[in-house]
């Protein structure tokens, strides 16, 4: 079921949806616990995702840590390979750099290096993304880095429905999952069923059906792409918007089939353009669908700069509806 079909349900925020996923999985499985900076009862996470959890589950299972990202992730790994299912929160995705060895060399490789003797069932949750005027150290979109590391899974929810369903799947998955939460989405409301559900990894969601051009978009860009599609519809252009929902595994089939149908594609992501998520999607389409393309593949992404502070500068670099509409018109 896609988000669009879920309109008969109650509406909750992305933040609440994530919290429900954490709470339900902690109730379901004693091995699940949280650790991170200020995730406990005094702060509940920088974006309040863990509100109420320390109160409900106690400080043993919702653990405030020192400001030690390597130790947060390393401790999660050690716990994961000895029978627990940790969820580590890195306060901002940018700070994953401080834990990069533990993520990319240890969590990702432990299963492989040791010949499959163990698995590393853990989730690293990270708020990330631009648009909040918090400048270069709190705004990056680093999903592409983690797509380049075999052994990691990468989840990128764009709606409350997907956020809850993907996080529950991530917690139950036996691999290390890098879970990206866009900071501008936390307050966004959407339909989420009362009953339990999971969103499987590797299944893209068609957020809007169309026949003239495909837009592949992730995270906050899904909403900008949907707005662009709405505007283009008024000009008689029918846009299909595909949200991969996980980047590893990537549902190439849904993307390729859509492009075979429309013959035109625009890929919209945050994160700088060079060697970004869009580059990989474009390469796959060049390999698997080039004969169906009626126009060159177009990418809309951030330029190759750090994220600047001043709203005037920041708005210039983040892809917006206008840039998406222009790109679609370019390929028509």
């Amino acid at each position: 079921m896609s988000t669009l079909e879920a309109d008969a349900m109650r509406e909750i925020t992305y933040c609440d949806a994530l919290r429900e996923a954490l709470r339900e999985e902690m109730l379901r499985d004693d091995r699940v616990f949280l650790l991170g900076e200020d995730v406990g009862k005094h702060w509940h996470g920088a974006f309040k995702v863990s509100r109420g959890l320390a109160e409900e589950f106690g400080e043993e299972r919702v653990r405030d840590t020192p400001i030690s990202e390597s130790a947060i992730v390393g401790a999660a790994i050690g716990a994961a390979i000895t029978g627990m299912r940790p969820i580590a929160e890195i306060m901002f995705g940018d700070l994953s750099t401080l834990a990069m060895d533990q993520i990319a060399n240890q969590a990702a490789k432990i299963r492989y290096m040791f010949g499959g003797q163990t698995a590393v069932p853990m989730v690293v949750r990270m708020p990330f993304g631009a648009g909040a005027s918090v400048a270069a150290h709190h705004s990056q979109s680093l999903e592409a880095w983690f797509m380049h590391v075999p052994g990691l899974l990468v989840a990128v929810p764009s709606t409350p429905y997907d956020a809850k369903g993907l996080l529950k799947t991530a917690i139950r998955n036996d691999n290390p999952v890098m879970f990206f939460e866009h900071k501008l989405l936390y307050g966004m409301k959407g339909s989420v069923p009362e009953d339990e559900y999971l969103v499987p990894f590797g299944e893209a969601d068609v957020k809007r059906s169309g026949k003239d051009v495909t837009i592949v978009a992730t995270l906050f860009m899904v909403h900008k792409a949907l707005a662009a599609a709405e505007a283009l519809a008024k000009d008689g252009v029918s846009v299909e918007v595909i949200d991969p929902r996980t980047l590893t595994p990537l549902d190439t089939e849904t993307i390729v089939n859509s492009v075979k149908k429309t013959g035109r594609v625009v890929i919209v992501t945050e994160g700088c353009r060079t060697a970004g998520v869009g580059a990989e999607v474009a390469a796959i389409l060049a390999e698997e669908a080039i004969d169906y393309l009626d126009a060159p593949i177009k990418r809309v992404a951030e330029p190759d700069t750090p994220i600047p502070f001043s709203p005037v500068l920041e708005n210039f670099v983040i892809p917006d509806e206008k840039k998406i509409i222009k790109a679609v018109k370019d390929v028509l």
Binding site: G78, M113, G115
Partner: protein
């Protein structure tokens, strides 16, 4: 000679046997490498046997250890099989990691050996996590984390030990101080002589022992592990020791002053312990000889097993990326 609480005869024999297994294993690996039978590089534990053996003799099978690029000794001391370690070093399918890890990445989860990392210091927070898991599961297990003097200058040392200290986790952090981080002497990269001094920054005990004296290591580790199991938190145990050879197979270790090397090699933990066992009449010469023969046979059998084992098929490179 210092006196120690008396250990049972079988325990003393076990300590000697394990140390000798490591020494013979490493000497054999050194020779086989010279004959081009082993790919890559190797970092030998020879000279440091008393540390791994003295610590692991206090651990149960369900206790955990984490290890380093110089990790063969840790595997053997924790109870992994010689033949499967050797096969892994040969890159064979029957090795512990099916040929994917090699000398620097051996693990045996069936005996609580959580793996060797070749990133200096990276195992420290992972051992902390194993301690956290023990605490959350409420068992009386313990974890021992092996690393070198070089690793004690990594950020992970500070982060990992501080976290374990803060949460009183059942981990002992064992610094094998062999005085050199590859070719760089300790005095060139720190102002302190004893790495154990750093323990005070974390509010935990720091203990320095002669790492070439297996009974000294055994006793210090015994106390630290008892403390850990009792919920009193971690200990930083520094064991002063010395590599018999260079950092890796190709390193003649010319940066070590001759006098220093001579003095340390005279304190080789193996002949030292052997003499001690004989002088205190803990074991007879005949008993020692029997241990030595058994160890030689076991190492020989390990080599034969590794030599005769098949390589993995090339396509197996694609397996085990994801669970």
């Amino acid at each position: 000679m210092e006196t120690y609480p008396l250990l049972e005869k079988e325990k003393l024999k076990e300590l000697y046997r394990k140390m000798l297994e490591i020494r013979r294993f490493e000497d054999t690996v050194f020779e086989l490498f010279g004959k081009n039978l082993i790919p890559g590089t190797i970092h030998l534990y020879a000279g440091e046997e008393a540390v791994a053996v003295g610590v692991c003799a206090n651990l149960r099978k369900d206790d955990y250890i984490t290890s380093t690029h110089r990790g063969h000794g840790h595997c053997i001391a924790k109870g992994a099989q010689l033949k499967r370690i050797m096969a892994e070093i040969f890159g064979k399918k029957t090795g512990y990691c099916k040929g994917k890890g090699g000398s620097m990445h051996i693990a045996d989860f069936s005996v609580g050996m959580l793996g060797a990392t070749a990133v200096v210091g990276a195992g420290i927070p992972i051992a902390t996590g194993a301690g956290l898991s023990i605490k959350l599961r409420g068992t009386d297990q313990a974890a021992a984390c092996f690393f070198g003097d070089g690793a004690s200058n990594q950020g992970t040392f500070h982060e990992g030990i501080n976290l374990a200290a803060t949460w009183s986790l059942p981990v002992i952090y064992v610094c094998e101080n062999n005085l050199y981080a590859m070719g760089t002497s300790q005095s060139a990269v720190m102002r302190i002589k004893d790495v154990a001094d750093r323990a005070s920054s974390y509010g935990i005990p720091g203990v320095t022992v002669d790492g070439n004296d297996v009974l000294a290591v055994y006793n210090a580790a015994n106390e630290a592990i008892k403390r850990a199991r009792a919920g009193k938190g971690p200990t930083l145990l520094e064991c002063k020791t010395y590599r018999r050879r260079g950092h890796s197979r190709f390193d003649p270790a010319t940066y070590r002053p001759e006098e220093e090397a001579e003095a340390w090699l005279k304190r080789d933990p193996l002949p030292r312990f052997r003499t001690q066992l004989l002088e205190t009449a803990a074991l007879t010469l005949e008993e020692i000889t029997r241990v030595e023969e058994a160890v030689s046979a076991a190492v020989e059998a390990a080599v034969q097993f590794a030599m005769e084992s098949p390589y993995p098929t090339p396509e197996e490179a694609l397996d085990d990326v994801y669970a």
